[in-house]
Symmetry: C2
DNA sequence: CACGTCAGTGAACATGTGTTCACTGGGGTG
DNA sequence: CACCCCAGTGAACACATGTTCACTGACGTG
């Protein structure tokens, strides 16, 4: 199972193992209840060896936040890459969202939880990130659908869409395991909701 | 400060003090990081006295969940009481939502956090409660606005509205303290979003 | 007025926490 | 081949956790 590896490769491998274990363990109880010793046990090292890789538990948490940011951004890159024709954009975006959540469920669960239950600084970081996403979406909408809406209106509709997609992530994460077909239902519902919003904003007049 | 009180009254008073202290303390870190000793210290009793009021810390948590449910339901009763004319319903509902969040911010923060970061049983309880709210809202929409939409469509739009209102609560809770006028902005945004959804669903055809 | 109930006390428990320290031993390099 | 670096070890630390137990003493009732 373990091949011939250089010392640096071995070190990097255990570092990643620590991150993975921490991510999995934080699925139950969040960052707040994550314990150094449980992580170490899961990785198969002694608790103190942890400090060869991170200066403190708090730093581990920040590393997890960074990892989650990377996952978020990768998904958004994928979404924007396929954002050309206005027709299929909704269906494509929802599918990409769901695909990414299924590829790295622990990252998205981590975001979903720490975004609102994490320590203040982490919450603030996620808030800024989502605000950025919202702004980009507002610009995309304004670009793809030339229209008389003010920037304020664009942000309002973008915010609603981001909120709806956040709800989709939550729905998938803590409802997927149970009944089959649930995910397809969530997808259909999300597509309908986005279409409703688009129709709504199309017939929208400020005031 | 302390009047003449019967033994039972005194007991009930400390019990409520425990609940209040626990609610305030769980504002930072959630139920997961709530410690018996910190609660006791805040109340002004010795840790062991806690067990005269609750069988365990877990039971304290369940009591807090019950309290939050009560706040949620009271708000919904207030919303439905004023749900007569279709015109002002959006503005009224948003205002009532915001008013209730400001009256018992700790309860709504508790719901917002534990709903997604709490122990599985608590999460499930909140999920059911919100599903109920969603169903009632779907029925209200179907009743107030006789229309050709299927129950499925009604639920889809109700779900979007509940999700949007959840977003409003979160926005108020961890953004209110900072700049003034933020709350008014959130209110305006929420009203616009609900109107967009209404317009969207009004022009909606299944498939 | 005597007596029992019972909210609150203080000591003790077993266990879990993050972090430090001196150490070992095998891979990497001169 | 000899030396060093350093990932991983194991003991120890100071402290926090939930819960138990025998206790005290004021309030409420007979």
């Amino acid at each position: 199972m373990t091949e011939e590896l250089s010392r640096n490769e071995r070190k990097e491998r255990t570092r990643q193992a620590i991150l993975d274990a921490a991510l999995e363990l934080s699925a139950e109880g969040g960052l707040a209840t994550l314990s150094l010793r449980s992580v170490a046990k899961r990785v198969g090292i002694v608790p103190t060896a942890f400090y060869r890789h991170f200066a403190s538990v708090e730093e581990l948490g920040l590393a997890l936040v960074d990892e989650s940011f990377a996952s978020l951004r990768e998904m958004l890159r994928e979404v924007r890459r396929d954002t050309r024709d206005i027709e299929s954009v909704i269906s494509n975006s929802v599918k990409i969202l769901v695909k990414n959540v299924n590829e790295r469920p622990d990252h998205f669960r981590f975001v979903a939880v720490e975004r609102i239950a994490g320590p203040p600084l982490v919450r603030e970081a996620f808030r800024r990130e989502m605000e950025l996403i919202e702004l980009e979406l507002a610009m995309d909408i304004g670009r793809l659908v030339p229209s008389p809406w003010s920037n304020d209106d664009l942000r309002t509709v973008a915010n609603l869409m981001v909120t709806a997609m956040t709800g989709v992530v939550e729905a998938i994460i803590n409802g997927a395991a149970s009944k089959p077909g649930w995910e397809d239902e969530v997808i259909r519902r999300a597509e309908s909701q986005l279409q409703m919003v688009v129709i709504g904003v199309a017939n929208w007049r400020s005031q």
